[in-house]
């Protein structure tokens, strides 16, 4: 419990806020709304607990910077034109601010992509850069500059198969988005679709979108409220997307992160060394005890970023994969009894 006495209770805006949307539509209310946006920025950043996009600390100026960006993009006009009532105005504004802060964080990843892409383009003979920083294919003789809508280039980027290098999920540094040949193929496809020189900013935007680094929707939530009105992440258990994601993570772990010996022990995540030693007959009780603890710790590390429900989904699918493996073995036609584990073992 805080020992601070704190200021006197603030007065809520009360009924004055009930007409904020009407006031804005009538050409007024902008100061109240600015104050509301600024407050939404503070909450969206967890009062400064979220990392600042530029790596510095959040302060009054940086809160105001986000609010200014919000207004400079004219997001408020789009919201005011859509909102059904004051509640809708409040919800859309909070989502817009949250998405704006998240998008700014993604911009830092785009910055890294920009540097990498420029390096690859400069080191590859397939491309040529003009003095203004626009890129074309080296085989072109006299290309013009991009005239068409840059978003028409997106489908070209999506038409290229991409190879993502293997990278340990618990590695200290973030892995590359794709390998070098994938970047080269993608830029060639984009330039061929453009049939003209394209500036580096557009190339980065198209490639970033292809790799799932687009800006977020302006005020559409990718989080959805549940029946109780609480906002939860859309990919929760029971949602199709959640199970698909869990399956994808589980398969990645199964294929690339586990040894054969570990895979065989997946069904025994909640079992003791004696039971495992008895069933598998590989090692003694103590050795199996140590091995299963190591496997549990490894999975905890690999799944650290997931919530409990998603972790449960991944473990459940890992068990299913283990079952498939056991049933698929030629010497198991009689149906080896597979240990039935619990999904909460590694929580």
């Amino acid at each position: 419990m805080s020992t601070r006495t704190g200021p006197p209770p603030p007065e809520p805006r009360g009924s004055g806020a009930a007409g904020l949307l009407d006031a804005l539509r009538g050409g007024g209310g902008i100061e109240d709304y600015y104050r509301f946006v600024l407050r939404a920025v503070r909450f969206a950043t967890g009062r400064g607990n979220l990392p600042h996009p530029e790596g510095r600390k959040w302060d009054e100026d940086s809160y105001n910077d986000v609010a200014q960006d919000f207004f400079a993009k004219d997001t408020h006009t789009k919201i005011v034109s859509r909102a059904a009532d004051d509640g809708d105005l409040s919800r859309m504004t909070r989502v817009a601010v949250k998405n704006l802060v998240r998008s700014q964080l993604r911009q830092t990843k785009r910055g890294k992509l920009h540097r990498r892409l420029r390096t690859i383009l400069r080191e590859t003979d397939d491309f040529i850069e003009d003095p203004a920083g626009w890129w074309g294919l080296a085989t072109w003789t006299d290309p013009g500059v991009l005239q068409r809508n840059e978003y028409e280039l997106d489908s070209a980027a999506w038409s290229v198969d991409v190879t993502v290098p293997y990278w340990r999920p618990d590695a200290k540094y973030e892995g590359p988005l794709a390998d070098r040949p994938s970047f080269i193929s993608m830029v060639i496809a984009i330039l061929e679709r453009a049939d003209a020189r394209v500036d580096i900013g557009t190339l980065v935007r198209v490639v970033a979108d292809r790799f799932g680094l687009p800006g977020l929707p302006e005020f559409e939530s990718i989080d959805v409220p549940n029946d109780a009105g609480d906002v939860t992440y859309r990919r929760e258990p029971g949602d199709t997307a959640a199970s698909v994601e869990a399956v994808a993570v589980a398969e990645e772990i199964w294929l690339h992160q586990l040894s054969d010996r570990e895979r065989r022990r997946i069904p025994y995540l909640d079992a003791g060394g004696r039971e495992i030693a008895s069933d598998l007959g590989d090692r003694g009780k103590s050795a199996e005890d140590d091995a299963i603890k190591r496997l549990q710790a490894k999975l905890r590390t690999l799944l650290a970023d997931l919530n409990d429900a998603d972790r449960g989904g991944v473990v459940s699918h890992l068990r299913a994969l283990a079952l498939e493996q056991v049933e698929g073995q030629p010497d198991n036609e009689g149906g080896l009894a597979v240990h039935s584990g619990r999904e909460d073992t590694i929580r």
Binding site: R13, A17, R39, S81, A84, Y151, D154, G215, P217, I222
Partner: protein, 337 residues
């Protein structure tokens, strides 16, 4: 209602801005008054207004639209569509009686799918919407149309119609995975437009129950209904013919009279004449009906139902000949209100 633990940041912020219901706001106020932690948090959220805030205003396009009387819908118009706390923008591509076919109009060009038409940044409506999600077209009742922002450029409408016909070349890649963030955007838009399509203020009418036949079978005459329900004989006849709803406070008496439960009787809403429904749903009346609902402290749907009930009863009592101009009737009602 009291708060046993600290209200979370969202609740506090909503309390500061007056977005909480009265009872919840009182509970939060009571908690904050006695909790220094929440006082600090709430005071933290009361940010002083900076000078910059006055530099920003809502676009004149929007201000003009909300200050104008909405026209009747036509293809090519961009509308705000809203109902029951959920709003969006939609481009009308067809008008058919009381419904319009519309496509969601969104601002995020970089999150479009292969069925979306993107319009140029120089387009007249570009400050509001640049991505028309043709693949998510919906039939919407006119009652959800609120404010018209004018028509889109001819070229944009032609491209939307071509996409509807399947002759427009997609400019954005298709969504092939639920892990694609665009799928979440698409689902959210689709869900909102599903809700808007289902928007209604009409109560579902029981088809299984015919009050007039039941009264005849039970030997109940209109006069007895009038006495039991405490209404005029004419109103009793209207209720029996299901042209007027039973007053809520008379439902228990009516249930006892007809040997039914209150729930069964509540489903016997009256059938309104289509002309009355269409007139009440015209966008040109919407703002005034909304103001009436706010004044009466009712929901928009509840107020329209109430208005329809009164107007239908008035017409029933007047026994006037056919050919009523319902627009005129609604206009008179709004002037009286």
């Amino acid at each position: 209602m009291t708060w046993s633990s600290h209200p979370d940041a969202l609740v506090l912020s909503n309390w500061i801005d007056g977005f909480l219901p009265v009872t919840e706001a009182a509970a939060v106020a009571q908690h904050v008054a006695g909790c220094s932690t929440c006082r600090v948090a709430a005071a933290d959220g009361l940010v002083p207004v900076t000078a910059q805030s006055t530099e920003f205003g809502v676009s004149q396009l929007v201000l003009d639209a909300f200050a104008s009387l909405p026209p009747d819908p036509e293809p090519g118009q961009l509308w705000q569509v809203a109902w029951a706390g959920s709003g969006d923008l939609a481009l009308i591509v067809d008008v058919s009686g009381p419904t319009v076919t519309a496509v969601p109009a969104e601002p995020d060009v970089h999150l479009a799918d292969d069925q979306t038409v993107l319009v140029d940044a120089a387009s007249r409506v570009a400050p509001l919407a640049r991505a028309f999600w043709v693949g998510l077209r919906h039939e919407l009742p006119q009652r959800v149309l609120h404010t018209c922002f004018g028509s889109v450029d001819d070229d944009a409408l032609e491209r939307v119609m071509a996409m509807l016909d399947g002759t427009e070349t997609p400019t954005s890649p298709p969504i092939t995975s639920v892990l694609d963030e665009r799928s979440q955007l698409r689902d959210a838009i689709a869900s909102r437009f599903d809700q808007l399509s289902a928007a209604t203020w009409l109560q579902p009418r029981s088809t299984a129950l015919n009050l007039e036949e039941r009264a005849r079978a039970l030997g109940i005459r209109p006069k007895r209904v009038a006495e039991a329900l405490g209404v005029a004989p004419g109103v009793a006849t209207a209720i029996l013919r299901q042209r007027q709803s039973i007053p809520p406070d008379a439902l228990p008496a009516a249930a006892a009279l007809f040997g039914l439960s209150v729930e069964e009787l509540a489903g016997t809403a009256m059938a309104f004449e289509p002309g009355l429904i269409d007139a009440l749903d015209r966008p040109c009346f919407r703002n005034r009906l909304l103001r009436g609902a706010n004044t009466a402290g009712m929901s928009e749907a509840g107020y329209r139902l109430d208005a329809a009930t009164r107007l239908a009863a008035r017409r029933f009592r007047s026994q006037s000949a056919d050919g009523v101009d319902w627009d005129e009737v609604v206009e008179e009602f709004l002037v009286e209100s």
